[in-house]
Amino acid sequence: MTYHIIEADVVILGGGSAGTIAAIKAKTKDPNARVVVLDKGPIETSGAIGRGMDALNIVAVPGYATPENVVEALTKVTEGILDQECAYVLGEKSLQVIKDLEDYTGREPGDLFPIDENGNYKANYLHPVDYPMYLAMDGEDIKRALAKRVRSLEVQVLDFTPAVRMFTTDGRISGILAFNMRSGEFYYIKTPTVIITAGAVGKFGLPRDGYLSGTYEFPGNTGEGFALAYHAGAHLINLECFQTNLLMKDFNGPACGYVVIPRGGYGVNALGERFWSHGYWSGDMFLAVWRELLEGRGPVYLKMDHLPEETITGLEKILWGTERTARGLFHEQRGEDYRRWDSVEQGMEEITLCSGHSMSGIQVNKNAETNVPGLYAAGDCAAVPHQYLTGAFVFGSIAGERAVEYSKNNKAGDLPVDLEQIIEEIKLPLEQEGGLSPEEVEYKIRSKITQYLTPPKSDPSMTKLLWWVKRIREEDLPRIKVTSYHDLIKVTEIRSIIDCAEMAAKASLYRTESRWGLGHYRLAYPKRDPDWSDKWVVIHKNSETGEMDTMKETVPEHKWNFVKELEYEYPTINLDIGKGYVHPPNSDRDPWIEEKVQREGFVVPTRLVPNGSCDK
């Protein structure tokens, strides 16, 4: 036997925010349950909030907002493409998240989260609605606190051991295959339930500076959650809505806008003018940025110089002290200062698929269930739109409790495949004589994604990307050569990125309209179409053909009749550049070249030494 065997009740793929809380809740609900967490890194620091986080971007706290207000905000920013039940649950359980985090960190109200004079958690305005739903957080240590609780509950944690295959038996979850990136040991985990909490497709488009790991999202998140779910038969939705957040340019650092805007900052163009009505990361705002750049008023900046010195100092403390702390160093080395209006240049993020800040992911209901029995999903890979970190905790909690319940009445079926053979296939890149490096192939597919998928979307370009997907999958993937298990996981990562590229292109070509501002601005259909106003595009693997199928599905009927549109219009583009010069026609037959081909054939003659003048 070349692998370890573990029997489990619940396996969690990814020990980030959603994954750690899912483990805690599963173990708390049933201390005897065998819960396993797999992660590419150590759960103390892995995932999107490894170095800390500075806010819960959406909460419904007493005195400020209600769960219905959360539904209203999300109905608007998703332009109606929303399961309102999920949004309601997000708001309803957000207060519990706050209490849980205070419990895990051992910190009091007013310390981890701010409180007002009435003792309520003090929320601020951020979303394009009239309710304060942004809650600041001094969350430098929450990931360590979550990990500590997970380990104290005797969850089996396999650090540096990502999943590479997920198995079903008779359509139900039955097992996971993983390997340790340092030791190369393989693990087969027999389980009736899997909770996928593997994050966004952080490595998708290529950052403009070309640095593969210079992504906005955590670069360990490469779409395995999306791809494993897809191959298991799960449905995925909203893959045509691309995330392209407005970030600190080049640094690609998050949180800048969301930390600054609730404290009085705002975005301006190169003329110093405020260019849009709000700073929330919805597609209308990104469309406005695109317009500024297209009409020659870029770069755009985040303006802070009008704020009181105390506020600027406070922003520096938060922005340089949590989440991506290298920010301060980045500014220092460029001589940038928040006290100058044009110091923080902003840029559009490389395109990404994510639900936390956008909408894409595995389709789940309010119980975090997918359509595959035994498979749950939560966090940035589960399509609860604009759920942010709050949603990772809310639906991670639900998934943990639900999965452990499910496992009591369902046992994992026997494995329908030859594991030894699969392991051999996975290890092939280690044994090849020579070949392409994983970085070369990753660079190639990600640069093609950026070139052909970045909105505004072009139909011929997206079709061309599908050609590249097929070519790289068939010709380049099998040629990757690696020399370590650290690099072997990259083959799985690249496979996932390719799968996600195909899903994103096909979903985009299927939705015959534009929606979500720049997120799905399709030049062939440059307006919203009312026929699509309550429809999802669902991507799934056809179980009979093995091919990727696309279908239209009606969004669950809305309980609340809130506004379903953001206040923007798609532009009417007139790029008339005149008719150009037309020279007299040439003949379409050229005797000179015809004769040459006839005389010389296709062999290129050697003429480097004219007349033999270099003879010795």
Binding site: E44, T45, S46, G50, R51, D209, G210, S213, F218, N252
Partner: protein, 75 residues
């Protein structure tokens, strides 16, 4: 491409005099970038997987490690 020797350019500054080779930075790097060299001193074995998240500096009990600069392509 990953680099596999400790002498190539790295954007982490590691003070060999104060480093106690405890390995915390190696164990807690979320991208498995750091490994120990033959003297027990950490180096960026998989440099180009670095997200410059600063966890290594944060976790070091002796403050022996710090980001010298952000990665060259984005500096």
């Amino acid at each position: 491409m990953s680099i596999h020797n400790s002498k190539a350019y790295q954007w982490l500054d590691i003070n060999k005099n104060t480093c106690i080779s405890c390995g915390l930075c190696v164990d807690y790097c979320p991208r498995d970038v750091l490994h120990k060299d033959e003297d027990g001193i950490p180096f960026m074995k998989h440099r180009d997987d670095c997200w410059y998240c600063d966890v290594c500096a944060f976790i070091c009990p002796k403050k022996a490690i710090k980001l010298k600069e952000v990665p060259y392509p984005i500096k």
